[in-house]
Symmetry: C2
Subunit: 202 residues, 2 copies
């Protein structure tokens, strides 16, 4: 996230707002609480955003502009393409790490909570959220099929199967505040990748 794009106060408002939205939901989080947490008065917020909804949209835009591929497809990861099972485990691991970042967790919570109150907002749907990731997976699996590493399944189905359950695992264990949930997430992730690899390997 580009921290220099906004003034300190503006960025602080966005950060506090995301935190409140993710814990209480959009409508329960109040401008008053957000202002108090930032350390200013409610009215001062309106120098940076024209409404509560405007804050929400700014958060949406901020998260929509980041590219997930840059975070989960590091160079050292691609070195393992010769060992596909190891590659898939590492890839899923990167993803779990990415989804476990505090700001990303907050955003996923907001996404799951507000997806039904703002229908039609495509950035605020599970499909929209997983879109880029599924495209990346599709390309990877097409390459694996071409190189006779995995069975010749429909690459869209493969991407859905691989990413879908990972996202459910992460979502399901998102409610608890305890950070040690991540151990269980990682365990379930490894089981899923194991099952998946067994299903597709040649």
């Amino acid at each position: 996230m580009n921290k220099m794009k906004f003034s300190n106060t503006k960025q602080q408002i966005l950060s506090v707002a995301l935190d409140f939205f993710s814990r209480h939901g959009y409508s329960s989080a109040s401008i008053r609480q957000i202002a108090r947490e930032v350390g200013i008065r409610e009215s001062a917020i309106y120098n940076h955003f024209k409404s509560k909804d405007d804050i929400f949209m700014a958060i949406l835009a901020e998260f929509n502009s980041r590219a997930i591929g840059k975070h989960v497809l590091s160079d050292d990861l691609l070195d393992d393409l010769g060992e596909p099972e190891k590659f898939l485990k590492n890839f899923a691991g990167k993803l779990i790490d990415y989804w476990n970042k505090p700001e990303e967790r907050k955003f996923i919570r907001v996404l799951l909570m507000e997806q039904f109150t703002r229908v039609g907002q495509k950035e605020l749907s599970i499909t929209g959220y997983l879109n880029e990731l599924r495209s990346i997976c599709k390309l990877i699996f097409e390459e694996m099929i071409k190189n006779n590493i995995i069975k010749n399944f429909d690459s869209v189905t493969l991407a859905d199967e691989f990413t879908g359950l990972l996202f459910l695992i992460r979502s399901e264990l998102m409610a608890g505040e305890k950070t040690d949930n991540i151990t269980l997430v990682r365990e379930l992730m490894e089981k899923h990748v194991g099952f998946f690899w067994n299903a597709v390997k040649l």
Copy 2:
């Protein structure tokens, strides 16, 4: 749902409240709106429920007392146990139908929205919601393993893989109001069962 358990007005309040909660979220739905929709004054609601939260808890209790197994494990389904692939397709189909009932869709939406605002309420978590279903699946897969129908995988993993993606498919396509989404849901469901069966069959 036992429609005779409550008076007509009480049941109507619950029904309207669930509808509002599922569309706007708990905190955005107001007693005032609910009362207007039912056709009574706000104060009359307090003859049936002692608070807004009390209405929410009543809805939770209502849905928590239903047994999903009775709906998805019909007699004609169990006739197909000799043809496991057909059985799994029908079983998943029953599940999709069950999740597509208007009241159940509303409840799933409420569940996804409120799971983070009421942390610790186990009836209000994805895990709690899928618990019974996963147990049923686990038993089915253990039976299939014993009868050498499928590979000897960990039955918990099998249940997670089978039910998990079905639930994600249903959740992901829950936001749109259009009922014809069900066609796409069914299509994705069949692809998932096909992939799953290929992975586990002997």
